[in-house]
């Protein structure tokens, strides 16, 4: 995954930076699945039924094409992270549009832990559990474990949580994470290790409680 960026030929990136929409299409296709992961992860469950992630990607592509010149100016910005930004903007707009009544700050809602998991999440869990034909008690125990992790994450510091989200749910590399958070890679590593250690501690506390 992290190697993905290097797979993109430099000349293709240069073309894209030069404003070639054709190059953008190729790059976009290359990152499509990574971007989809982000969409799925960040899309509020309340609008999952209304919009598919393919829709969001399609809109993201259109938006990226329109703003391609912005990319041209930001020479430091890796293509993937730039596309990620565009996806984020699309998501904020979509959430604002769909959930206006329910929230004041759409940006706030687009966070790691939505208050409720998407039905898809439950579906996959159940599928997994049923597939193994486990006993009800086991299912409940497992569901509790997931719940526990969710609430542990919610207890954490915003930035720590974001680091975990970027590293594990968006599957960004440390370098990418550092760029996104606008910090040094060493600091990003430190932050990440600290967050994960803290998570381990919290989970232990939870189990003891």
């Amino acid at each position: 995954m992290t190697d993905a960026a290097s797979e993109i030929a430099d000349d293709l990136l240069a073309e894209m930076r030069g404003g070639s929409e054709e190059a953008l299409a190729t790059v976009f296709a290359h990152y499509r699945e990574r971007l989809r992961r982000i969409v799925r992860f960040r899309l509020d469950h309340r609008i999952v039924g209304r919009i598919s992630d393919s829709d969001v990607l399609q809109e993201t592509y259109i938006a990226a094409a329109q703003r391609l010149e912005h990319f041209c100016k930001q020479t430091e910005m890796p293509a993937f992270l730039w596309l990620r930004l565009v996806v984020g903007q699309q998501l904020v707009d979509l959430h604002r549009q769909h959930l206006q009544a329910e929230m004041r700050d759409a940006r706030k809602e687009v966070s790691l832990q939505p208050n409720e998991p998407s039905p898809h999440t439950s579906m996959a869990i159940a599928a997994h559990l049923v597939g193994k034909m486990t006993a009800v008690s086991e299912i409940v125990a497992r569901a509790e474990r997931i719940e526990r992790l969710e609430s542990t994450l919610n207890q954490m510091d915003d930035l720590d949580r974001e680091v975990i989200a970027l590293r594990h749910f968006e599957e960004l590399s440390n370098v990418e994470t550092a760029k996104v958070l606008k910090i040094e890679t060493a600091a990003a590593s430190k932050r990440y290790v600290r967050a994960m250690t803290r998570l381990a501690e919290l989970m232990r506390e939870f189990e003891q409680a």
């Binding site: 995954m1 992290t2 699945e33 992961r37 799925r40 039924g49 209304r50 919009i51 598919s52 992630d53 393919s54 829709d55 769909h98 409720e116 998991p117 039905p119 898809h120 999440t121 439950s122 579906m123 996959a124 869990i125 159940a126 599928a127 997994h128 559990l129 049923v130 597939g131 193994k132 034909m133 486990t134 006993a135 009800v136 299912i139 409940v140 497992r142 569901a143 509790e144 474990r145 997931i146 719940e147 992790l149 969710e150 590293r167 594990h168 749910f169 599957e171 590399s173 440390n174 890679t185 060493a186 990003a188 590593s189 430190k190 990440y192 290790v193 994960m196 250690t197 998570l199 381990a200």
Partner: protein
Amino acid sequence: MMEDEINQTELDRIAEEFSLAIRRGESPSIDTFLDSYPDTSGQLRELLESVALIEGLKRETGSIEPTREPSLNIKQLDDYTIVREIGRGGMGVVFEAIHQSLGRRVAVKVLANHLLNDTKHLTRFRREARAAARLRHSNIVPVYGVGQSENHHYYVMDLIDGMSLKDWQAGLSDQRRPELPTIDVAHFNTQTETSNSEVSAVSDTDRQMDAAGVSKATPFATDSKDYFHWVAHLGATMCDALQYAHTQGVLHRDIKPANLLVDRKNEVWIADFGLAKLSEQQAVTMTGEVIGTPQYMPPESFDGTYDIKSEVYAAGLTLYELLALRPAIDGKNTGDTIRKATAGVSISPRKYNSSIPRDLETIVLKSLSHNPSERYQSTGELRDDLHRYLLDRPIAARRTGLLERAVRWSRREPVVASLTFATFGLLSALAVVSAYGYVQTKSALSTAEAATRSAEQSLTLKTDASQVAEDQRVRAEKNLQVALAAFDQTMQNITDRGLETDADVLGEVTDTTAAGVTPEDAKLLQTLLGFFDELAANNSEDLLAESAVAAQRAGDIYMSLGKLSQADRAYSDCLDRYAKLSQLESEDSSFTISRATVMNQLAVIASLRGQLARSFEMFSSTTELLESSEPALASHEGRFQYARAHRLFASLGSRSGTDGLQQPQGVGLIPRRPASFIMKLRAEQEFESLEKAIEVLGTLIQESPDDIRFQAELARVYRDKAKVASRAKRKSDAEEAVKESIDRFEKLLSENKTSDAVRYELAMTLISTEAPGFDQRQRAARADELSNQLLANSPALPRYMALKAQSLENLALLQSRAGESDLAVRNLIESIQIYSSLIAESPELSLYETRRSQALESVADIKISQGKTQEAIDFLERAIRRLQPSFRQPQMSPVARMQFQRMRQKLARLKESQ
């Protein structure tokens, strides 16, 4: 400082490597990783554990859509030309396509490659799809088959011009965005009028127009009667389709609103037969893949059990959702959803929409019983009950609502939550043990009682005096829950033994005695009735309906047991409650109808006990009540009770055994009021009443020709008409009516050959003493044949025994006329023995006493004609001795009093002549 930072970076690098290994699908062991790196501070282990946890969780909750979707630029799949994408879901993408050879528009579902990456599963999927393709039902989306083109496996089905119920509902509930979602699950198949020639993509606006087209087909408000009928009809149709599939050996396995399509003609279609199986098979080997939504999974499926009854449950969930306009199972988070799905449905849909008809709710809740054996045993049964609801006939499901009550109560009473758990435990204990029989059920019941008491005691300790009143209410509620559960279990046991209760079959609790209850049932029910009695003090309004039903059932049981005064008391209690309910919910005509039903029962009891005044009073109030309620009289059930009231009125005389009463004799012995009433019951009035009943039943039969109750009631009306005509000395009318009644019952029996209830009713007409000239020998022989058949089926049933006794009397009468005196006496003695045992079982039935005395008197008469005076005296003395105790009681029927007088005179004359 510097070292520390390098250390952190190194840790991060190792963690990343570990994460990538997991994401590649390897299962790296933490220990192995630790071996290759010196764990500097124990921190690495901690870090890797966190990574394993989070990545593990992610895989469990991982992406549900295929990561490698079919590429969007598929243009052709074998003979199918892709027109456009119309939806996507967990298993792939659905396209609209044109089958080139046939020029036909179809829906093609291109399955995610990873679902079929194993030959075994592919074979299985093809077999399932072939089975699904064999299904031919007007409400199952036809499956044309499966195919493979390059790397794509696909599934071809008919293109339905409509939308899924999920979308339809989403459109309903989303006030702010009334237009419908533009993209949805795989089964969302839209089609525009013009797109036959247009192969271009369809815009969102077109889809919305499509949606509006369907919405227009269901223009009613979601709390209107029409809506509930539409839902019931839709449910019945869905169940019919499922039933058909089940008979073909195909389970759907993923019934949910998203899989039900409604087309422009408002017809419902079940989509995706044969696909769920595929994902289930996959789920065994592949983690994180899709099967049914946990929201729509029956509790037992979490244990790996899935059968026809699970489909009943799934159908119930869909109905629930349509009624409540929200999913039955809806967790606030992941764990919650699964927990709720495994715990089953606990909130009544009426909580969300109080205008949902109770019967419909009862049907839905029965389908959603947690225990599969308490559900409808097939989707066909569910369909039939929905039809009954649509026809306004009594449904087969009985109300329980226990779980909901208990849950609601526990929410209200967190202080005594432990008590709720106790109650739950008791209920499940009951459910389990009752399967083993009565002894166990009974002991469970007493355990339940004991446990409840001790729980109550601890409760009392915990609370202040000020809460005593509240405690009592709580106790009453809890007792009701326990009692109703046990009661339903018992009734279920009765039903399971295949005994039909008349109330269910012919719409009338027997007017002589005993429905399908055995002495064992009686004993258990007696115990249970204690609980219902305890509830008398409970005035809680939200339990009023339950306690009314409980009282009505108690009445039914007492009635079946021949305990008339207890039945009277229970029905009267029940009536009070229904009256209160109709005041509280005046717009609900079902309470009016329930009141009328109970009042008719009270009228039957009154006439059986010879209380003609009360009986007459009941008739007047019942007809007045129904006439005052337009919606009640508009319903089938209301009109049925109206017709019953009229028949009961006309047959007051014959029912109470007073029809032989010509004029009051011995003024002091006959209660004045009834006597004067009898005189008032002029034949003309009775005829009028019967004509009214015939008229009402005629229209009912026309509207519901399949409702056996209406036909049976009409045949009963003719039977009673014969009695009235005979009393009015209108011989030809009587003969005609008897003939009509026999013909109608014979026809009914030929159409319902296994129905003992119909057999019994026919026999009752055959042995009636009216129109004696009409086919008498043949009638007597046929009646005897029928009573023997009935007893062969259910030897201990009092009402069949009574029938047999009467049939024997009938034969004896004919034999005695033919001079076969010995044969006649033998038959009479046998009938006397039967009556005696019946009286021992149900001492309150004055009718049996009268009949037994009549039989004894008949024997005496034969002995007199044979010149055996002493024997005649013995029989008469016996008859008098038997009637003596009743004679002292004021409620003794007038006819019995007269008989008693007559026999005493006869005895005196005999003794004199001696």
